[in-house]
């Protein structure tokens, strides 16, 4: 029963990892651009939620309504005035610039908020659970996070396949040059892509702050989990990213069940094994 419980908790944890990963996957998909500071943007969102909660005293979930639009705006502006300038034939400049961002963000957060570990109090949600039987129960908060991941990914999928902006984003992912001949302004399209990705980062950051302790240095580890989820699932496939997050979560939960110190390592090992067996990921995007 302990094992079933561990796997169940792992699946739910996978939802959080999928939220970490969805924005990364989206930015890479549309712009072929890897944001090395992705984890630090998640941490910025967590601190954003902390500020909102401290200033207003509302439940952390309400902070989403401030953090998500705030991050979307930050993403759009940052892409238009800064990141767009780094994009081109050479893939190195965006990597270097976002790597620099990562260091700057961590140090600014350290300066402003100190290295103290923070956590948002989610009240009754933290302990409430739904019993399945005597030995297995599902926590309300992990379930909420998992459900949010499903909604976010389904929403993004619908956006990409049912709207004209979504269609243009997919076309941009295929061929950035030709899409300009269709009347699309790449600079703007990239801004929208980053805005959407950053909105998802905002959601992920609020949940991170509610679920675990965080401090200015935890960004890079979130980036790693996000990367692993994206690559396990297959680049450019959002449902694959969810599957990748779940596999990572389950591997970590099983690892923790074997030995608590084995949790993180088990996730990385699962990632490495999958990379050897299926280098393209489990569900690579079909290419014509």
């Amino acid at each position: 029963m302990d094992w079933i419980n561990a796997i169940l908790q792992g699946i739910l944890l996978g939802g959080l990892y999928a939220l970490f990963a969805a924005g990364l996957s989206l930015m890479f998909g549309v712009m072929r651009f890897v944001n090395v500071a992705h984890g630090d943007f998640i941490v910025i969102s967590a601190y954003g939620a902390l500020i909102v909660v401290a200033a207003t005293g509302v439940h952390p979930l309400w902070a989403t309504f401030v953090v998500v639009p705030g991050m979307a705006l930050l993403g759009y502006v940052g892409q238009r005035i800064l990141l767009n300038r780094t994009l081109g034939e050479d893939i190195l400049p965006p990597l270097l610039v976002t790597f620099g961002f990562s260091i700057i963000i961590q140090n600014v957060l350290l300066e402003v908020f100190s290295a103290d570990s923070q956590k948002l109090q989610a009240g009754w949600m933290e302990t409430a659970s739904i019993p399945i039987n005597q030995s297995i129960s599902i926590g309300v908060m992990p379930l909420l996070i998992f459900a949010s991941a499903l909604i976010v990914i389904a929403g993004l999928q619908a956006f990409f396949y049912k709207t004209s902006l979504g269609r243009v984003l997919r076309a941009t992912s295929d061929d950035q040059d030709t899409v300009r001949l269709m009347g699309a302004n790449n600079a703007k399209i990239f801004g929208y892509a980053t805005a959407i990705a950053s909105a998802v980062v905002g959601i992920a950051g609020v949940y991170l702050a509610m679920r675990t302790n965080f401090d200015p240095s935890v960004g890079p580890a979130r980036l790693l989990f996000a990367f692993e989820a994206v690559i396990i699932g297959g680049l450019g496939n959002l449902w694959g990213t969810l599957a990748g997050g779940i596999i990572l979560g389950v591997a970590q939960a099983i690892g923790a069940q074997i030995d608590p110190g084995f949790q993180i390592l088990a996730g990385h090992l699962a990632f490495l094994i999958l990379l050897v067996v299926k280098p393209q990921g489990l569900f690579p995007k079909m290419k014509g």
Binding site: S164, R167, V168, R170, A171, S173, D174, D175, D177, T178, V179, R180, L181, M182, G183, A184, N185, N186, K285, M286, K287, G288
Partner: protein
């Protein structure tokens, strides 16, 4: 007389230190179909890349519908009414046929062309509308590329090497659409290596050679010798 749809004076283009165009004077008027012919490397595609804004043309004398457009970006030119069928078709592989067509409408103005009129022009595409754009045969892909460009309701349609790599029978099908497109009021520039095909559809021909216009005129007024000389750079009588 009304302004030409497109006019360039002394257009030049460079790739780094290499100069690809040396002062091209070009114009096309409302309703005309103009063919640009020339061998590989003559500068035809570079010319198209320049007038579509894919190459930087800041400071150059280019007028579209009477307005100077030198230095304007590609996406703004599309919104002003210029559309391009790029060489090699360049369909979006992860989009269906219909989605490829709809992408063409992204920067559209006016309502001359719709999915229905495109499907009237190329009925096979209606049958294949839900197929992946790149799952089709080469000829059908070319139809999608033309339809996609038309979906923006262009005032000027530029077609780059639309017969390249296609079987003659397929080329015939595609070129049969040209008069129908003209009938909708579009003005067309057709870039072709296939001289006979170009002469058959064009009202006027420009021949490019080594980045310059080597010959221009109406197809029925030009002799084969003149064209050979302009195309290959050979003297009269030397032409094969």
């Amino acid at each position: 007389m009304a302004d030409p749809v497109l006019q360039t004076r002394g257009l030049t283009a460079h790739y780094g230190d290499f100069q690809a165009l040396f002062g091209i004077d070009f114009e096309i008027r409302q309703g005309e179909t103009v063919a640009i012919i020339g061998s590989n490397g003559a500068g035809k595609s570079t010319f198209l890349r320049s007038i579509t804004g894919m190459l930087n043309t800041a400071g150059q004398d280019i007028a579209f519908l009477g307005q100077p457009v030198g230095g304007i970006s590609a996406h703004d030119l599309v919104r002003k009414g210029l559309a391009m069928v790029p060489e090699g078709r360049k369909l979006f592989p992860s989009l269906t046929v219909e989605e490829n067509l709809l992408i063409g409408a992204y920067g559209r103005s006016g309502s001359e062309w719709t999915l229905e009129t495109i499907y009237d022009l190329f009925p096979i595409l209606a049958e294949r509308r839900h197929h992946g754009g790149t799952d089709l045969s080469g000829g059908q892909q070319q139809m999608v590329a033309i339809g996609r460009a038309l979906m923006s309701n262009p005032k000027l349609l530029l077609c780059d090497e639309i017969s390249l790599g296609l079987a003659p029978i397929v080329i015939k099908d595609i070129y049969e659409a040209v008069p129908k497109i003209n009938a909708h009021g579009a003005t067309m520039v057709v870039v072709e290596q296939d001289v006979n095909q170009a002469m058959a559809v064009a009202d006027r021909v420009y021949c490019f050679q080594e980045g310059r216009v080597s010959l221009t005129g109406k197809p029925d007024e030009l002799t084969r010798e003149q064209i050979s000389a302009a195309y290959f750079g050979l003297e009269d009588g030397e032409a094969a």
